[in-house]
């Protein structure tokens, strides 16, 4: 199995979730994150002094999938998250050695 991690724009995340659901992806884990990259943050003023907020809000999602589903999942995410503007985010794939479903103790494929 693989762990697909994606960092996307917050207002795109709903679409990503729906697209994944459509392809039958049963679950995922989501965290609020902040991104740093080519997309610049914004500038705030406090007592007349400007300072940069270098980070931009992102949604980070993790999906553990069968090897077979990796490409489908990656392309689904990239498809749904794309706006074409800088800051759309990244998706990366990592090998997973084993997975367990806490409730049942089922492992690997069965745990997803």
């Amino acid at each position: 199995m693989k762990l697909v991690t994606a960092v996307v724009k917050p207002h795109k995340w709903e679409e990503v979730r729906e697209a994944l659901a459509a392809t039958g992806i049963a679950g995922m884990t989501v965290t609020e994150a902040s991104g740093y990259g080519q997309q610049k943050g914004h500038t705030e003023v406090y007592r007349g002094a400007e300072y940069d907020v270098s980070l931009v809000p992102k949604i980070r999602l993790e999906v553990v999938v069968d090897d077979a589903d990796v490409d489908k999942v990656v392309s689904t995410i990239t498809g749904a998250a794309k706006t074409g503007k800088i800051g759309d985010g990244k998706v990366w794939v990592i090998p997973v050695e084993s997975v367990v479903r806490v409730r049942t103790g089922e492992t690997d494929e069965a745990a997803l």
């Binding site: 207002h11 003023v45 406090y46």
Partner: protein, 424 residues
Amino acid sequence: MDSGDTAWLLASSALVLLMAPGLAFFYGGMVRAKSVLNMMMMSFIAMAIAPVVWFLYAYSLAFGDDAKGGLVGGLDHVGLNGISPSTLTGTIPTYVFVVFQLTFAIVTIALISGAVADRMKFVAWALFVPVWMTVVYAPVAHWVFAFDGDDIKGGWIANKLGALDFAGGTVVEISSGASALALALVVGKRVGWKRDPMRPHNLPSVLLGAGLLWFGWIGFNAGSALGANQLASLALINTVAAGAAAMLGWLAVEVIRDGKGTSFGAASGVIAGLVAITPSCGSVSPMGALVVGAVAGAVCAFAIGLKFKLGYDDSLDVVGVHLVGGIVGTLLIGLLASNTAIELLGFGQPGLFYGGGLDQLGKQVVAAAVVLVYAFTCTYVIATVIDRLIGLRIDEEHEVTGIDQIEHLETAYDHAGSTTGGMG
């Protein structure tokens, strides 16, 4: 001068002044975290601009000796000219009266801002405020609040038509509600409207705001008696009765429709009731006030659904609560005005249910309709002109990012790392 009456009006002025920050908190909690500052700033800037305009000339337009046909006051009090600490209005110093009336103008303008949450250029709003106050508020206040005196003539609704509006159901509620509708139409919908829930980011703020508004509203209504007198006592009890009954009315609708009552509904219900009792608190009995409140609460709970059907984005339901609630309260006077209250007021007729016939109701309808149409039309024109001149809206992309960052170069909260204790 009566020191007791003056004491109450001093206190009332403070109470109504607090309504603007209260409203800012009430509205601020309703929007998303990325636009709460702008939402609050729309009320605060009204607190900054309105006093200057009011003292410079708007007070005179509203309460100066009538210039022509009961339509607008003259310029005799420009710059508060002719008024000194020793000048009296009834039993209180005129300076207190000037401030008390000013606070009404502030609240009215601030109310409108709820219709254009998240998306209006701040400079456009800052321009809208003085213009609207001059073109809409001052004249309408003259029509309704300026009564003829021995040596001074007032407005047509108060004196010629004889409609009853104790504390501003037309001037404050209907005019702000109708203007909110016009402004929302010209400004247009928020990005993602109907698609995203855009739910309140801080409901406890909404509830506290509602509490502060109810508190201030006691000065608003009971202060409108311009003294610590019998009429004030009637306005007081009716204000409490209507707010309470309206909360029940609104929650009842929710329980029946959704299965449970929401805190947002409770807060909105109180306001709906206070809106409806504003014109009528001087002319109905406490039992009548319970009816006014219950009706307003239930009606407004449905009215806020209209925007989805008719397709205008009145973001915080100024129309559903203030326009509709204002109409309900203004018209119900025609049915529920009690003989005792009318006697005490010294003018007007009892309502239909008190054997007064349809006469008063007719006058109420005229007053409500004229103010509605006038406020809507003027605001529509003002907004369109400002839009042409400098544009009313921020960019779509900026709106998605959050108006606070764009228009105020700030974000409201910074709780980084502060909640760790929570998991421990």
